[in-house]
Symmetry: C2
Subunit: 721 residues, 2 copies
């Protein structure tokens, strides 16, 4: 795919998040204080760099000599942990700048999240940091750790080092995942950072760092709000090509957004839009917080699946049924097993076994649990299968049936591990015995095969693996929307509107679209009633629409400024007179330029396209079906501009109402290819003309062949001539 890959310099965060020296500003001998806890975290974990406690009032903390100030330090400092109150921070950052400190973590709260006074102080923090060249993590952060470098500034004990990088605007969420990981015993972390209010370093910077960090196999983010969403999308697109990126975005409801805003001052935009944009750049979006760790673990270990066709091997019909329901609901497919696969399964299973996916061994494995691994090998070799899902009692046969089945279970586990090594298809295990961690399941864990305690979690992982695999494939042969070259004529048109202090007239917006290849119905702008004879002749016996042209009349129908179903000169004249008198009555001061005459559109399926420049994510295109689908059901798709061919196609496929486009009640399907082309053209036009602030095509009528843009509205960006 022809994406602009930024060959950015290595992230400057490496020096800060894997520092060779750390100053603790506000180091303390009081064990309840962060200035003590951070010290003990570093010492206990065996941090090998220099530690400089700073406290002018005491001589030693935990046996380490303290220093009176940053200026007084004998050597260079990579990272300063600032544990002192909010008001002290700007001055300390100025000191840090003088000393050449590379980065500072500001723990204090009391900034933007508390209101305007705090926001002022936060600006001072940023100014001081920028002036001194110090990067700031926080403020209002829980801190950070980098377990592979023995930097543990949170003083959390017993965290296992591992693959999961985690950036979280909630310290409690980190704690929760750490405890969950400790409890299930097989997930470890690489680096954690709390970005807090992101006054300087933001999610995009952290994500780039995790993308580059060799110890991180999956970048996991708990986000209340992005600061520079557009930049984040760029970085996420690059990083997701290399390793999985998992995001939980809070604020899926208005209530949640309010709560987030009072927490980190985060401005959360439309949740549905955010999810669409994240998926567009290959992010795996997790929608429930209890699925963050299972999905991060699964993606970290298995990375991706070739597709969405899952083979289920089960030893009980009930759970095979649940697995079928959940897989289907998650958009996965039950793989259709080949006849050869069924024959091979039939040869080793009891006659009552179900050989149709979900495969139910129906007791065949009760005395021989290793048989399950054989079944998994057989289905993994089927080219109709993208991933293998074992569901049931595995690991518990020796508990449930007879102790001497343990040998068979261990052999089965080894076979599964061997299969996982040689197959490109991921293997995911759900066992009802997972909570008690029997030996065969412990063995799978050790060999980095994930085992889940719930079918639902396992299915979320399979879905994320399949979606990621398909995304990576779609990127490979994807192309961006063709670049549109802005024309001088159109630029002049924008300049004219700008000079007149107005947005584009409908006919101007249509002219712009037409100039760049969008199918717009022919139309005539009429200034004087006497021109109507020629207009009537031009359109012959087509039914026509007449609409007022005036920058002052926004709601044309309300003003009596629209007449439908007109034919012939007489009807046109009458309509013209009525529109003029209605509109003058509606607004006597309105500047009326004339009317626009265009043929009535043929019946078809109404769709709408809208573009806005989102304050967080930049230009975003929305697509949906018209009327109640948008207004009542909010059934719309969003993509960041510029769109790729794949983006445009997937917008259409994503709608719940896509069946309407496929043709209902015997009607022919709408021309999807033409709609995709239209979306790409609109993307190109918006990219080419920064003068466009908002664009609405509402409706576009989609036909079995082609479409017609019936109405167009462009709001200009008055700051760009």
């Amino acid at each position: 795919m022809d994406t602009k890959v930024h060959t950015a310099a290595r992230s400057p965060l490496h020096d800060i998040l894997a520092p060779a020296s750390i100053a603790i500003i506000g180091a303390s001998a009081d064990p309840t204080k962060r200035g003590y806890k951070a010290m003990i975290g570093l010492i206990k974990d065996g941090y090998r760099g220099a530690i400089y406690p700073i406290n002018p009032k005491i001589d030693m903390v935990l046996g380490v000599k303290t220093w009176a100030s940053i200026d007084a330090l004998p050597g260079p400092v990579d990272l300063a942990l600032i544990c002192t109150p909010a008001a002290s921070v700007p001055g300390l950052l100025t000191e840090c700048g003088r000393k050449g400190v590379k980065g500072a973590i500001v723990l204090a709260s009391g900034f933007k999240e508390t209101g305007p006074e705090g926001a002022k102080l936060e600006q001072q923090v940023l100014d001081a940091a920028r002036a001194g060249g110090v990067r700031v993590i926080g403020p209002n952060t829980s801190g950070m750790f980098n377990l592979h470098k023995k930097v543990n500034l949170l003083a959390l004990t017993n965290i296992k080092a591992g693959d999961v990088g985690f950036i979280s605007q909630s310290g409690n969420m980190l704690l929760s995942l750490v405890l969950e990981a400790e409890h299930n015993g097989h997930v470890g972390f690489s680096t954690y950072v709390g970005p807090g209010n992101q006054t300087d370093v933001g999610f995009n910077d952290y994500l780039r760092y995790l993308g580059e960090d060799e110890h991180t196999r999956v970048a996991t983010l708990y986000v209340e709000g992005f600061r520079d969403g557009q930049r984040f999308l760029q970085v996420a697109r690059e990083i997701s090509a290399v390793k999985p990126v998992v995001v939980y975005k809070s604020g899926s409801t208005e209530q949640g957004k309010k709560a987030a805003s009072s927490h980190t001052g985060a401005l959360a935009g439309s949740y549905a839009m955010t999810v669409d944009l994240l998926r567009q750049v290959g992010v795996s979006v997790v929608q429930h917080s209890n699925e963050i760790l299972p999905v991060a673990e699964g993606l970290g270990l298995l990375q991706k699946a070739p597709g969405k066709r899952v083979a289920v091997i089960s030893d009980g019909g009930g759970q095979a049924t649940i697995a079928s329901d959940r897989l289907t609901e998650a958009g996965l497919e039950l793989a259709e097993l080949s006849d050869e696969t069924k024959r091979r399964l039939g040869a080793i299973l009891f006659p009552q076994a179900s050989l149709v996916n979900p495969v139910d061994v129906a007791g065949s494995s009760d005395a021989n649990p290793a048989l399950l691994a054989q079944c998994m090998e057989i289905v993994a070799e089927d080219e109709n299968v993208d991933s293998v899902f074992l569901v049931g009692m595995f690991g518990g046969y020796s508990i449930r049936f007879a102790e001497d089945l343990l040998g068979g279970e261990m052999r089965g586990a080894e076979s599964m591990i061997e299969l996982a090594r040689r197959s490109t298809k991921p293997i995911v295990v759900y066992s009802l015995y997972a909570p008690i961690k029997p030996p065969a399941l412990r063995r799978l864990h050790e060999a980095r095969l994930p085992v889940y305690t719930s079918i639902e979690y396992a299915v979320r992982v399979l879905a994320a693996l399949g979606e990621r695999g398909i995304y990576l494939q779609s990127r490979a042969d994807d192309v961006l929307a063709p670049v549109v070259a802005p024309s001088e004529e159109m630029k002049s048109m924008f300049a004219r509107a700008q000079n007149e202090g107005r947005d584009l007239f409908e006919f101007e917006a249509k002219a712009l679209l037409r100039a760049h290849g969008v199918e717009v119905a022919p139309e005539v702008v009429v200034h004087h009633v006497e021109e109507l004879a020629a207009v009537a002749a031009q359109f012959g016996d087509q039914l026509l629409v007449m609409k007022v042209v005036s920058k002052d009349i926004l709601h044309k129908s309300d003003a009596g400024g629209v007449k439908l179903n007109l034919r012939g000169e007489a009807e046109l004249r009458e309509a013209f007179d009525r529109i003029m008198s209605s509109c003058h009555a509606y607004d006597p001061n309105a500047d009326i330029r004339g009317v626009l005459v265009t043929p009535m559109a043929k019946k078809g399926t109404e769709v709408i396209i809208g573009v806005s420049r989102d304050p967080i994510f930049g230009p975003v295109l929305m697509f949906g079906l018209g009327g109640i689908f948008v207004e009542i059901l909010e059934d719309v798709a969003f993509r960041a501009i510029p769109l790729s061919q794949h983006d445009a196609g997937s917008m259409v496929d994503q709608l719940k109402a896509r069946k309407v486009l496929d043709g209902v009640r015997g009607e022919p399907p709408a021309d999807k290819a033409a709609l995709v082309d239209l979306l790409l053209k609109v993307s190109g036009i918006v990219t080419a003309y920064p003068q466009i602030s908002e664009l609405d095509l509402n409706p576009v009528i989609a036909y079995p062949e082609g479409y017609a843009a019936v109405d167009a509205r462009i709001i200009t960006n008055r700051s760009i001539l």
Copy 2:
């Protein structure tokens, strides 16, 4: 509410599920066999009744004398556990009948679930059982236990006795819940039964038993398919009035239904319909299998909440945000705290605390965790609050901050327990420390306060508690649809149609509806063209519709049998002629009775009502908006007939598209009261006329005042005159 409460005799299952004597048919000395495991389960657990192992080939099993046959037994037998293969079962049941055995559990599979041969054998089982008066559990069941009576025929060890009664068509699901309960350490079970193929005893019988069982505080069911759904709904309505009923229904997708069918031979109908009908009778429906145990536990302990307004107390903004999102998504509300409550909270919390629900104590509890309990007490006293949800670190303060906080945590736990005792509002706790079970959380568990490991589970519980509370209130003052007395005239009309081997004509269906108070547009049936002059005079200048009347023409429009927008005698005559010639051309043999003339309906919102007699659940009414809402979005509500006032109102409220009825784009809202009245009338009519097999009103046009039933179709039940 005026429901027919069946004052049924005590369930006969008590004798069978709490038996005084048990015969093990196929008792065995082989430890891998069920005939051995059941014996050891009874002996180990200390079953106090008589145990009769039956095996003609050996003398003793586990020190207990065996008997050669059931006939040979010295005393009466309440329950026989049949461990022998399928083919032996009918003969053994005949023996059991001779001996007066009350019930038999048939473990063997190989019946209906395997196909027609198996179904035949299953019929023989049923015949033998009925002939001998033996009730049958199964076949194809995993067995049962009743822990309070020390009857453990599954030989599962370490199951804690407790409140949760569980009926599951999946043995693995039982195992899964038992292991999960063992792992979290605080959920216990009363009775478990696997109903298997339900050839005799079905879910409704088991539910009645659990409803009557004093040891069961929550009846929990994993269902692949109901056998007698109509009866189940009756029983569930009775039992849910007394204690919570939790159902997980598999087969939410076509794939899941197929899997279920090959498992227990279950015929699963529409999932959406099943869920609606279960909720109608007060069942708490769980949609993910991993939520079964948390919801059962929470409902068992807390039973209900007065409503859906939740107060959240949290010690971290991130998790308060997640809680807000999940609560809102689950249909709960964040309670609006009174000024007095905010004042009281403000008096004990730090200034930076958020006093708006979700309350974030923002560090106030870091040195004083008992403060959280004080906050909970304050919000619990607010009359705007229905339940209290603690979110965060509680239980882990002594781990996270300082060991000496343990005292405060334990005091806090005692205060919460005290609050739970005196308040009618449920208290639900989520703690990120729940997985490691610290002392304060263990104390809450002991005192029967539920603590969850995930916000999502806790929210499901809060939702179930609120829904149950509201359901019970709605029942209190609910009234059933008015009873309709069938008229002789209408019964004759059905008889005529029956004699002619046809369904009702549209005008007959409308006559029936009109006779019982449904608003149907006036209409005239015209047999001869000469009658049209009078018709034209009758309707004046109204626009009219003409439709063919013929039992042979089902798709009138396709046959050219419908003409719209007619006015005056001439137009009516022309339309009549055209309809006659088109319809004769369409089907030369069609029996054409004439045409129906009726005024064109005014524009309004189209809704549809459909009634069918479901093979599982009996008469069911469907309501939805017309067109794409039904066809594409499947946005419909179902209720079993007869409907209550509450049922009818909740059908309208349930639709995603209800906003259309509330009025969109400035249109006035539809007359909801009139629609509710219509639904109740239809319910009454269907109950009064068993001759109706299916009824469709499509569309009904809803207006700001009233509605008009524009088309009506009634399919007759030809077996009822």
